[in-house]
């Protein structure tokens, strides 16, 4: 106990330190800026406490179990087997990693509202060809891991792998964009790249790479072991885009001549209606309607709106004919719909069960595969099996608690705010409340600015709390012997994500086409990658791959949908995530260039290490 208590305290405080910003920020925003109470406050508070405890166990699990296991196998592999065998192993690890992350479920959930008539190919990919979709993402990640490991053996520069891939991806995306049927799959493709790299696979793959580099590495590169994550984010995009194009060419998607599935035109309609009913104004009841029919008197506190019809000047009067007259109940204040502190629809046992199942699925099969390979194929014992087992138990426990905490704490808070933020610039019914509010800060630029600022700090705070990025930061600090501090990397990435999300909110608020934002950013990115040093290319691209994790994604999606549904002409939140991935690469590479300049100033040889 004497030993255990200070340890637990220190670890818990560490995690509290990483999540306090986003929590305090969200609460203050809701209460002070939007002037609304927090609904289901005790459920959210419990959830956040559970997130902190879950993160504590999970990060310890990474440190004690997952990363040593990955590193152990990484060091044994090059000594015990030849390159072709290693590549097969790497490929299998990639596929295993895809199955471990609940990515495909996320994609399916995100695409559940797809209307087959509007986006037939996307609908088909998510339903008729779901198996092929998973397989192609898996093969993409598998190839990426294999290529990443080959790179270590031959000491290839990551730059010269990234640039052609990014250019090819951009060309393919532009081609896809130009085709109305193919266009909707762009979102799916880029998102699938982001979600395959999660909190379990990233540290594991990083550790594996570092292990391999310890044996075959050149020794003068501090970024040894990095780069796999980047490739594993890029290749699935390519795979999904190619799969989409293949089915387009084969004409066997929904509604196309060779389609074999059933046509069911009306199915997802109900869901779409439910979605759009998220923000109706509370209005008149059936009794009030009956009263109005009888008496014909306009009830008190009613606004009368006229729409449609013809307006003409007759004599000295303006005459409005055939107009539609709408009576709207005027709202004076908002009040919570219920006093409950706990969302009655949220079943904690069911949430815990699903979180535990997801955790087991993410950790156990992949680790078992690694362990069996190590034990029976490579015939090597683990150096410290007890510690690694404790680590794995911690990882599963942590992951389960973390998932539970997110589903009862962070997601409800995020979706409340997401749907309330538009009240800064539009009239909405706040989440879980009766009555309408806003626009608090004017419909014009002022309100939009509030929303953009909100997005900025949301991205900043959520990124700092991401477990995979924390693990990456620890790794960077460890392999550079503390020369590159974790805090520096985290701050760069967080600011990058924040800028990306702010740009994403701009895109929605001002309805800017995504291509106008993405293409210049990627162009800038290519130039920066070209001129940056190898080390920063590795750190920057890898950290971008891990930013879109379990904390950022739900918060950002909730906000994107909330804002999107209040801006005419915008229906999806896609684009924010893609921009949030570009941002950190740009900031890390920029910082890298500044550092490089400083280094050249004090380096005797004045040779850049690129």
């Amino acid at each position: 106990m004497v030993v255990l208590l200070p340890y637990l305290r220190e670890k818990l405080l560490e995690q509290v330190g990483s999540i306090w910003f986003i929590v305090v920020y969200l609460l203050l925003f809701q209460i002070i800026v939007l002037q609304l109470p927090v609904i289901f406050a005790s459920m959210i508070a419990t959830g956040i406490a559970v997130v902190a405890i879950g993160l504590m166990f999970f990060m310890e699990g990474l440190r004690l179990g997952l990363m040593p296991l990955g590193e152990a196998i990484g060091t044994v592999l090059p000594r015990r087997s030849r390159l072709p065998m290693i590549l097969v192993f790497a490929f299998l690890v990639g596929i295993g990693a895809t199955l471990a992350e609940p990515a495909i479920a996320v994609l399916k959930a995100a695409g559940s509202g797809v209307v087959p008539a509007e986006a037939p190919l996307l609908y088909s990919l998510l339903n008729d060809f779901a198996g092929q979709l998973v397989a192609s993402v898996g093969i993409g990640v598998g190839l990426a891991v294999a290529l990443g490991v080959t790179r270590f053996f031959y000491g290839w520069s990551l730059k010269w792998l990234i640039l052609p891939v990014v250019i090819a991806l951009s060309a393919l995306t532009l081609w896809t964009y130009s085709n109305a049927v193919l266009e909707p799959i762009i979102g799916l493709a880029w998102d699938s790249g982001a979600v395959t790299t999660g909190p379990v696979t990233v540290p594991l793959v990083l550790a594996l790479g570092i292990g391999v580099c310890r044996i075959v590495g050149r020794g003068d590169m501090s970024a040894a072991g990095f780069g796999i994550v980047t490739l594993a984010s890029l290749f699935p995009i390519m795979a999904v885009l190619l799969l989409g194009n293949l089915h387009y060419a084969l004409d066997d998607y929904y509604g196309a001549p060779n389609y074999r599935g059933e046509l069911h035109p009306q199915a997802p309609q109900a869901e779409a209606v439910e979605h759009s009913s998220a923000t109706p104004a509370a209005g008149f009841s059936a009794e009030e309607l009956a009263l109005y029919r009888q008496s014909g008197e306009v009830p008190p506190d009613t606004d009368i709106r006229y729409s449609g019809g013809d307006v003409r000047l007759a004599g000295a009067n303006i005459i409005h004919e055939n107009a539609r007259i709408t009576l709207v109940k005027r709202q004076h204040s908002v009040a919570p719909a219920s006093d409950a502190d706990w969302d009655p629809k949220n079943d904690i046992i069911a949430s815990l069960e699903s979180a535990a199942l997801a955790a087991l699925q993410a950790v156990i099969p992949l680790c078992l595969f690694l362990f069996l390979t190590l034990r029976f194929f490579l015939r090597e014992r683990l150096e410290d099996p007890m510690l690694i087992s404790i680590g794995l138990v911690f990882a599963v426990l942590g992951m389960a608690l973390f998932g539970l905490g997110i589903s009862i704490g962070l997601t409800p808070l995020g979706s409340q705010l997401g749907s309330n933020v538009p009240s800064a610039f539009a009239t909405v019914q706040p989440w879980g409340m009766q009555g309408v509010q806003g626009p608090l800060y004017g419909e014009g630029l002022g309100g939009s600015l509030v929303a953009i600022l909100f997005g900025f700090f949301l991205g900043y705070g959520a990124t700092l709390a991401e477990p995979a990025l924390n693990a990456l930061g620890d790794t960077v600090q460890k392999i550079t012997v503390g020369a590159f501090r974790k805090t520096l990397l985290m701050q760069c990435v967080a600011i990058g994500v924040a800028l990306g999300i702010a740009a994403g909110v701009c895109k929605i608020a001002f309805n800017i086409p995504l291509v106008y934002l993405l293409m210049p950013s990627y162009l800038l990115l290519c130039v920066l990658t070209w001129i940056s040093s190898e080390e920063f290319v590795n750190f920057g691209w890898d950290s971008a791959g891990v930013t879109t994790g379990p904390i950022t994604v739900p918060l950002v999606l909730a906000m994107g949908l909330g804002i999107g549904s209040n801006v005419p002409g915008v229906t999806d939140g896609f684009g924010i995530l893609a921009l949030a991935s570009v941002g950190p690469i740009i900031t890390v590479l920029t910082v890298g260039l500044i550092v490089e300049r400083a280094r050249q100033a004090d380096d005797p040889a004045a040779e850049s290490n690129s």
Binding site: D220, S222, A601
Partner: protein, 392 residues
């Protein structure tokens, strides 16, 4: 199993920038050095302008190259190493050699061949100093910055920091060892003998070494050395580093009296008097080094713990052989500072246990300060606030 023992050996440490290390290493191996061991380190820079704090400055990444050289070859090797590393250039790195008592090698470990005729140093352009002392502080990461700052305020170069894995108490805890963070940091620096005591003491104070579990600080003699390590971040390149300039002024003036000696205002703060050139009990403590293959680390360190060492720190090294007879592989350098009689026993014990392959050697530690829980009547100690200050 045969044990090869060599007398009159030295360890040469060459510290260079990481991105140039590979080239330097290849040149060295091509230039008659039979093998080298490398590990990673970082430098320390202080920022001399307030706005530098706003810039993302990362500490210089360094590589330490270690060579185990017979004494007759040391001068020539150091000269060659300095030439390949371009040490005369501003902020290029440092080199120093430390004497080793006896080197014992068992099994498949590299050994410098005795037959090779060593050329005398051809080039005397590099002025090796013979008045240096090495100070090492093994600390928990949190105090490292304070320790480095304290040393630099007294005019030391930017200390070199390395990661090391602590074994000891941790390994006796069973599963509870999850609670202990194994990674510690080793702060090392080379200072002139005349400054050594003062710097040693401010570092001890800054690192709070008098408290439990704060680590230990020790000094070791250096035969020869040359330091040219940057300490100050600046945007422009200079032909010389500040320590170089200071040394040049020393030479011109013929003394060091011109230097501002008041920097050490904290001298009496901890009751450590900071008297220079105090006689120290030179033979009381030794540093025992055991080098094994990395996968044997745990086995050997547990063996050492059973034989009575209080703890050990473990650095991981890469072995780079010049020829193909030996494998390029990872080694673990297990170090423990113990009383000399125990060190001798341990040395013997390790040779009897004969973990194979293995390299064992002892070096003299001239001064040590750490927290000790109880008072041992056997030795005369000065105690200040629980610090056992081992003077004579």
């Amino acid at each position: 199993m045969t044990i090869t023992t060599r007398h009159n050996m030295s360890v040469v440490h060459l510290i260079v920038r990481r991105h140039r290390s590979r080239q330097i290493l290849e040149n060295l191996l091509a230039d008659g050095v039979p093998f080298a061991m490398t590990s990673n380190a970082r430098g320390t820079l202080i920022r001399d302008r307030w706005y530098h704090n706003l810039l993302p400055i990362i500490s210089p990444e360094l590589t330490q190259i270690q060579l185990l050289v017979p004494d007759p070859a040391v001068d020539s090797v150091m000269e060659r190493a300095a030439r390949h590393a371009g040490l005369h250039r501003s902020g290029a790195g440092s080199i120093h050699s430390q004497p080793v008592d006896d080197l014992h090698v068992i099994g498949d470990m590299p050994l410098w061949p005795l037959s090779a005729a060593e050329n005398p140093a051809e080039d005397a352009s590099l002025d090796l100093q013979e008045n240096l002392t090495a100070i090492y502080f093994i600390s928990q990461g949190e105090r490292t910055d304070a320790i480095c700052r304290a040393a630099m305020r007294l005019g030391s170069h930017g200390p070199i920091v390395q990661y090391t894995e602590g074994h000891g108490l941790r390994d006796r805890l069973g599963w509870l060892r999850i609670t202990s963070k194994p990674i510690k940091e080793v702060v090392s620096l080379l200072v002139e003998n005349v400054d050594a005591d003062q710097i040693f003491e401010v570092m001890a104070v800054a690192g709070q070494v008098e408290q439990a579990a704060r680590g230990l600080i020790y000094r070791m003699p250096v035969s020869k050395g040359f330091v040219n390590i940057d300490s100050v971040y600046s945007e422009t390149r200079h032909a010389a580093t500040l320590p170089q300039i200071i040394r040049a002024i020393d030479d011109l003036k013929g003394n060091k009296a011109w230097r501002e000696r008041d920097a050490f205002t904290g001298r009496t703060r901890a009751g450590l008097t900071g008297r220079a050139e105090r006689p120290t009990n030179t033979q009381a403590w030794s540093l025992l080094s055991v080098v094994v293959n990395r996968d044997m680390t745990r086995q050997v360190s547990l063996d050492l713990l059973e034989r009575g060492i209080p703890g050990a720190s473990i650095d991981f090294l890469q072995l780079h052989p010049a020829s193909d007879d030996l494998q390029h592989r990872e080694l673990a350098h297990i170090r423990c500072v113990v009383e000399t009689p125990l060190a001798v026993d341990l040395e013997q014990g390790m040779l009897e246990a004969a973990h194979e392959p293995m390299m064992v050697y002892r070096q003299v530690v001239s001064r040590l300060v750490t927290y000790t829980a109880g008072e041992s009547p056997a030795r005369k100690r000065k105690v200040y606030r629980g610090v056992a200050v081992n003077t004579d």
